[in-house]
Amino acid sequence: MNRQRLILHSMTKVVSFIILSFSIFLFFAGHNEPGGGFIGGLMTASALLLLYVSFDIQTIRRVIPFDYVKMIAVGLLLAIGTGLIGMLFGLPFLTQFDDYFQLPILGETHLATALPFDLGIYLVVIGVALLVILTIAEDDS
């Protein structure tokens, strides 16, 4: 391991966590500030990409053992499932609800069904971006 890799690895370890945190911030900020599932997802994907670029693929596969195909499926199901909630109460597909709740630690919190919907999008975007890039990168034919 030469010095160049060492610096890269150290920097990556620090930076990827900052990016990840920022992406989660973007994801949660979406309802009131710029951000949201799409941007958050892309940002998370770039953090993971950074990990893949600086370390080799096998290492990251071992450390983060995600199956991105399943992640896409879960994301889609989540988004569709959120839409179906409304239908249980006889409302149109994709009716969104929001209300204020008193939660133990966070205090009064504004919760909306838009959040799980956005989470679905978030997961799909991460899955798509990484799946595509890794598939092409690993193809050695």
Partner: protein
């Protein structure tokens, strides 16, 4: 559903059973199961005779598609009954004949044959007995289809397939025209019922669609009835089995056009166009067919051209007779109605003698193995019964007494001579051509009739040229021609059995406006008219016809006689070739297989369409008054953007090109920032980053860009197309902008601005729209992403194994 409907549909119902009977009773000839049906139908139709000859008509209606005015109405009047009797009567004889003709039960697909034949019989009954034009059309096309199937019965023969295709193309072409004509009639009268259309004749005659409707319907009638120049399919249809030729191509199907013309005479008759088209084409067909028949060496080809010629004669008579509609005649005036009388009478006569002649030819073919008149001869002593039937048939066809052909020929001459005395439709100047052409055509008719009989049955027998030992046919085969030949004689000797029983009701159907209630046409057919012009013409025909026949040897070497095929076939065959070549040429011209050509088409269309819209609607408007102030850094941004864009076509390295494209993407993100779209700017930045990474990954595998050398013309046309698309897209955008100030529309965004927080509980309006107001779009876009990703996985991972197969 009345009994009459069942009668029309009975052949179809029996046709369903035929394959089962064929499989179950292999040792019995399938024809025997069929034979009963036409016979029963014939007897059933005979029971209508008293009612119809009394001037009545029978009508039964079953709704089919009432919302479109299409009902299955069976209407039996004189004309319909005559045809129904011909179809079932000759049908019975043909089925009986075919049982012996196609005697080989093992090798022949008899089930096919009888299914097609029954299908044809039912369709033909439907054509002549339906009152609704759409139903007529449906049955009409079914006859075309059944005829095609029957011509191609021996589908292993190339000539059969050729003939079947030819007849199909020509008759269906006519059928479609006829459909268009029927539709025009509906447009004019708002009904499909022939009865009701006839009642509105005065509306039609003055309507501007009169001529198109008439031409289209005549096209259908002329193609079906083999009138010049559409007759060329009939000689090639002789590849069909002989019973089929006898039934379809002499007695029934080719008369469907005649039927249609007769049926439509009350609608279109009395107008000069109808008169001239019918009699003009008819008389020319008569001449063309009879002259062509003399050149033929094949007996069936002679009969085919003879049929064409006789159909032309009937068509001429119907045309001449339609002039009668022009005059509102008092009852008993026969000068003009003679032509219609002759047409109806000859229609019956032709069906009898032509049917018997075809059967005779079939027998000769069956018993000797050839139909070529150059190989035949001296069969009279070997086949006495066949020869007798042939003698009666040919002499009747030639128009000799005492057979029925003589009577109809005399009446034909009377009709054309009467035509010269007509003082309408320019007949004063052109009328004389009718008797002259008719007379010349009759000479040739006489000649080919003599050739047919004498070359086959007299002269020297040449057994060495025949494939089989010639002998008399079995009884079953002879029944058909013998019955028909005796009808020829009976109708010849006692023509008046037909006069008031069937001919007069038919004339009523064709000329309903000329007979008052209770009145009737005067029909009297007799042999001796005294020494008048017609008799002189017949004597002339016999003399000159004999001269033509006796001098045949001298002419046989002439080029005219050596060319058997109709010269029009050359045109037909080549136009098919030209059609295919032309289509291939057009195809090759536009479908080059090069993606850049297709892109060019699309962009040219795109630019052209926008240009057309802008200029046609005079929509170019540039209004710069309502623009927002433009700050300096926007100018800088746009300048860099333009510079980067222009540089791309000049870059020869992939990686450089990707990076420059990335630069454009980041500049766009900056533009979003300037225009206050933080979400878009963020997304654009991230997407661009991921895209550049992906491009680099993909293009890492690809070779260096080749230095492509384009032709200068290609470069210029590409440049021109690009500039055109750019210019017109910009013009469209600018014009849309200008017009949006002229016709302001309330933006929906106001609603979102007001309700984003109250309804959806969010302050980020873009995100609220994405996940709440328009959540379905987002859901489906994410689905698009997922499918794209899975597609890439499949492409990369799962095609590698099967790559050899690609």
């Amino acid at each position: 559903m009345s009994l009459l409907h069942l009668v029309v549909l009975a052949p179809f119902l029996l046709a369903i059973l035929i394959p089962f009977l064929y499989k179950k009773f292999r040792h019995i000839h399938t024809g025997w199961f069929v034979l009963g049906l036409p016979l029963v139908l014939f007897i059933y139709f005979l029971t209508f005779l008293p009612e119809i000859s009394g001037g009545g008509a029978v009508q039964e209606t079953v709704p089919w598609i009432p919302s479109l005015g299409i009902d299955f109405t069976v209407f039996v009047d004189g004309l319909g009954l005559l045809f129904a009797l011909l179809i079932t009567g000759i049908g019975t004889l043909v089925v009986l004949y075919s049982i012996y003709y196609i005697a080989n039960k093992k090798d022949e697909p008899l089930n096919n044959f009888y299914v097609y034949l029954l299908m044809f019989m039912g369709a033909m009954l439907g054509v002549v007995l339906s009152d609704n034009l759409m139903v007529v059309y449906v049955f009409w096309e079914t006859t075309s289809l059944a005829s095609m199937l029957l011509i191609g019965y021996w589908f292993h023969k190339e000539r059969s397939r050729y003939g079947a295709q030819k007849s199909m193309l020509i008759t269906v072409f006519g059928g479609f025209s006829m459909l268009a004509g029927f539709t025009l009639l509906y447009v004019m009268t708002e009904t499909f019922s022939i009865r009701e259309i006839i009642a509105q004749t005065d509306v039609i005659a003055s309507h501007e669609l009169f001529l198109p409707a008439m031409l289209l319907i005549l096209l259908g009638a002329f193609t079906k009835s083999a009138q010049f120049p559409f007759h060329i399919w009939l000689p090639d249809a002789m590849e069909a089995p002989t019973p089929v030729s006898a039934y379809l191509h002499s007695a029934t199907m080719v008369k469907a056009g005649i039927y249609l013309v007769a049926r439509m005479t009350p609608v279109f008759g009395g107008e000069p166009q109808w008169f001239w088209l019918l009699s003009g084409f008819g008389i020319f067909t008569l001449l063309w067919g009879s002259v062509s028949a003399v050149r033929q060496k094949d007996l069936k080809a002679i009969l085919a051209f003879s049929t064409i010629s006789q159909l032309g004669m009937i068509m001429t008579l119907l045309g001449l007779g339609s002039a009668a509609v022009h005059f509102d005649l008092a009852n008993g005036e026969t000068l003009y109605t003679t032509a219609i009388l002759a047409a109806v009478f000859h229609l019956i006569n032709h069906a009898t003698f032509k049917g018997s002649l075809f059967m005779v030819v079939g027998i000769v073919d069956h018993e000797t193995g050839t139909r070529d008149i150059r190989n035949l001869g001296g069969l009279m002593t070997l086949m006495p019964i066949t020869a007798t039937a042939a003698l009666i048939g040919t002499f009747s066809m030639a128009g000799l007494p005492p057979f029925n052909g003589f009577l109809s020929k005399e009446m034909f001459f009377t009709g054309v001579l009467n035509a010269t005395t007509l003082d309408l439709f320019n007949m004063q100047t052109w009328g004389l051509i009718f008797p002259v052409i008719a007379w010349i055509a009759s000479i040739f008719t006489f000649a080919y009739c003599m050739i047919m009989f004498f070359k086959t049955f007299t002269g020297k027998h040449q057994p060495e040229k025949l494939k089989k030992q010639a002998h008399e046919a079995p009884m079953g085969m002879l029944i058909g021609p013998v019955i028909l030949a005796s009808l020829v004689v009976v109708f010849g000797l006692f023509p008046n059995v037909l006069s008031y029983s069937i001919i007069e009701p038919v004339m009523r159907s064709i000329l309903p406006s000329l007979v008052s209630d209770g009145g009737e046409f005067y029909v009297n057919i007799y042999h001796w008219h005294g020494p008048n012009t017609e008799l002189m013409m017949t004597i002339g025909v016999v003399i000159f016809g004999s001269l033509v026949y006796l001098n045949l040897k001298r002419w046989q070497e002439a080029a005219f006689f050596l060319k058997e095929r109709d010269p029009l076939n050359w045109l037909y065959d080549n136009s098919l070739v030209w059609l295919i070549d032309g289509a291939t040429w057009v195809n090759d011209l536009q479908l080059t297989g090069r993606l850049r050509d297709y892109m060019a088409y699309m962009f040219v269309f795109f630019a052209g369409f926008m240009a057309w819209g802008l200029f046609y609607f005079d929509a170019i408007a540039i209004d710069l008054e309502n623009t927002a102030p433009i700050s300096t850094y926007i100018f800088v941004l746009v300048a860099v953007l333009i510079l980067a864009t222009i540089s791309i076509p000049f870059i020869n390295h992939r990686i450089t090109a990707i990076i420059v494209v990335g630069v454009i993407g980041f500049l766009l993100a900056l533009l979003f920032v300037v225009f206050r779209a933080p979400d878009l700017a963020l997304t654009q930045l991230l997407v661009e980053t991921v895209m550049v990474v992906m491009f680099l990954l993909v293009f890492y595998h690809l070779p260096e860009l080749k230095k492509e050398s384009f032709k200068p013309t290609m470069k210029i046309s590409n440049l021109a197309i690009s500039i055109a698309v750019g210019v017109f897209a910009s013009l469209t955008a600018l014009s849309a902008h200008a017009f949006s100030y002229e016709n302001p529309v309330d933006a929906i965004s106001n609603y979102f601005i007001e309700n984003a927080y109250t309804l959806a509980g969010g302050n980020n309006m873009v995100n609220v729209i994405l996940v709440d107001f328009r959540g379905l779009d987002t859901l489906l876009e994410v689905l698009v992403l997922a499918i794209a990703a899975l597609g890439i996985v499949v492409l990369v991972k799962y095609t590698a194994k099967g790559r050899e197969n690609l």
